[in-house]
Amino acid sequence: MKEFKLENESKITTGFKTPENYFNDFSTKVLNQINEGEVKVIPIYKRKKVLAMLAAAVVFIALMIPVVNNYNNTSKDLDANTLETYLAYQSNLNQYDLINQLDTKDIESLNNNVALEKETLEDILSSNPNIESLISE
């Protein structure tokens, strides 16, 4: 094969063509794109940014909910079991201390309980053989 020399050849073109009227329409296309970009794209971009920040804030708050809830629970409401265990094992409370804490209302409700059990009381008394000694006391 003979040696190929670019300078010996007639100029080789690229062979690239464009559609008819391409350049006539092109400037309009670009100008439209630029105007569109000026009017629309910038606000959309800004709105996107605000939306993104808003979404981040919502996610953050949502993540904080369980933390805040637990904080309030543990600090204010002791549950009954914990309190009972504490009083029973960790403190020097005795019966007198408990009695001192009773007010009239508590005593009334205690009496009510007794009144409700009148029949039971009668049963006990009638079946009790030492009833006389109880009366004499």
């Binding site: 094969m1 003979k2 040696e3 190929f4 020399k5 670019l6 050849e9 080789i12 073109t13 690229t14 062979g15 690239f16 063509k17 464009t18 559609p19 391409y22 350049f23 092109f26 400037s27 296309k29 670009v30 100008l31 794109q33 630029i34 970009g37």
Partner: protein, 180 residues
Amino acid sequence: MTDEKEFIAQLLNPKTQNTAFQKLLSDYQRPLYSHIRNIVLNHDDADDVLQNTFVKIFQYLKNFKGESKLFSWMYRIATNEALTFLNQKAKLNGITSEALQNKTIDNLKADVYFDGDEIQIKLQKAIVTLPEKQQLVFKMKYFEELKYEEIAEILGTSVGALKASYHHAVKKIELYVTSN
């Protein structure tokens, strides 16, 4: 040069901006199109890249310092856009830029916007084997017929280095075409 300063001032002035930009478009759309088309090879891609190029030119015009000529500054934007486009497209297809270009050249035969025969295809195939810089230099010198001084301004290299690059490119292309 003063004319150019005036023209840039018109481009930046909101009152004259539209007319000035239209003039810029009509003056440069053809040469920039050829430049981009020579890099990306098919018309649709060149169309996309050319649009992006002009939009960027418009956006960055206010940052244009006038350190270089408007002409070479626009060519630089076009070159960067085209090369970035090629790399992204190659990445998207999971192949190298060279493989992508080879594929595109094979598709040229069926392209309605390509009117060439064997020698054109062979020349393109030969160009793809060159390093990126030599490809650019060859295309700008041989196809676009830019002056060395202009190419030097666009690519930011010396005229001497460009001449050497072009010389190497021609040698390699001739060798490729002879042996294939």
